[in-house]
């Protein structure tokens, strides 16, 4: 037990995590491409035309994946924030910072694809209803986190300030998730839930889940790539970065 604990702390040091992350990136990138190819194939060539929405419903394969990842990445960032504030590990803050731009990307894509789906189906790009507004707030939370961190020069203080913002903002995630149940909204209810059978054709469901997996693997690869950049930038005075083969050569 104690031995395990020591191992976890070992990997929480940037010096040991940097090469490990480097080894993991190609695997996650490959999985992202494979899942993405399979998901797009099923989404466009296997899943049938929707009875009500025709071919327009195929936006679901990118919209749901982006929307789920935008919420999930925020929860992961909040997890790192809590860990960073309680244990004061350096890696936690770096991981939260590394995830933020990718989370913002998915939050934006969720809004963008939602607008492009809403226009033909609801007749409007945007309505100020609960689901859409809380998703917009999530996008602003990402931007606020990034802006706050870049406004503070000392990285450790920036990590702590960002972590507090993340933990306060986490209240928005259940609001987004349950908004379609709590309020009247144009947005359709959940197509997939943990308690009921999915309300969609099996092939559509598979296409969607594969796209979610693809975006998930992409997010991990991108965050690991970015955390390595952050380590190179921040650990300048630590010495170990000058011993790296890519710096020495």
């Amino acid at each position: 037990m104690s031995r395990r604990l020591i191992n976890w702390f070992k990997y929480s040091s940037p010096q040991t995590f940097y090469p490990l992350a480097g080894k993991m990136i190609p695997w996650f990138a490959t999985l992202a491409v494979l899942f993405g190819a399979a998901g797009l194939y099923i989404g466009f060539f296997v899943a049938p035309t929707d009875a009500q929405q025709g071919e327009g419903y195929r936006i679901i394969f990118v919209h749901v994946a982006a929307a789920w990842m935008s919420m999930f990445i925020y929860l992961v960032m909040a997890f790192w924030a809590a860990l960073g504030l309680s244990l004061n590990t350096r890696l936690s803050g770096m991981m939260a910072s590394a995830l933020a731009p990718t989370g913002a990307l998915f939050a934006f894509l969720s809004l963008w694809t939602g607008a492009l789906w809403g226009k033909p189906m609801w007749g409007t790009w945007w309505v100020w209803d609960a689901r859409l507004t809380s998703s917009l707030i999530l996008f602003f939370l990402y931007l606020g986190f990034i802006a706050l961190q870049s406004a503070i020069d000392d990285p450790r203080r920036a990590d702590r300030a960002g972590a507090v913002l993340l933990l306060v903002g986490v209240i928005n995630i259940p609001i987004i998730y349950f908004s379609v149940q709590w309020w009247n909204t144009l947005h359709q209810g959940a197509s997939v839930s943990l308690t009921k059978a999915p309300t969609m054709a099996r092939t559509m469901l598979w296409g969607m889940l594969l796209m979610v997996l693809s975006f998930w693997m992409y997010a991990i690869a991108a965050a690991l790539y970015r955390v390595r950049c952050i380590m190179l930038e921040r650990e300048r005075n630590a010495g170990w970065v000058y011993e790296l083969p890519e710096v020495k050569s």
Binding site: F44, F45, P48, T49, G54, E55, G56, R58, I59, V62, H63, A66, P101, T102, L105, F108, L109, W112, T113, L116, W117, K119, P120, Y218, A222, Y225, R226, R228, C229, L232, E233, R236, V241, Y242, E246, V247, K248
Partner: protein
Amino acid sequence: MNWGGPAEFFAMGGYGFYVWGSFGLAAALMALEPLLLRHRRKAALTELKRELAAKQEATDEE
């Protein structure tokens, strides 16, 4: 198979603009992010190499 040919595929039953507008921007952004990251990594490595060279020069002079 859903499609009679490429033209039908790209038309997406009249929803082409919306479907390809969604997938297109997603693909573009998810291609752009790794390129920006590669640029950031190169910049960080260049800076570290410069600092290392400056350090070695300083120790050589001593």
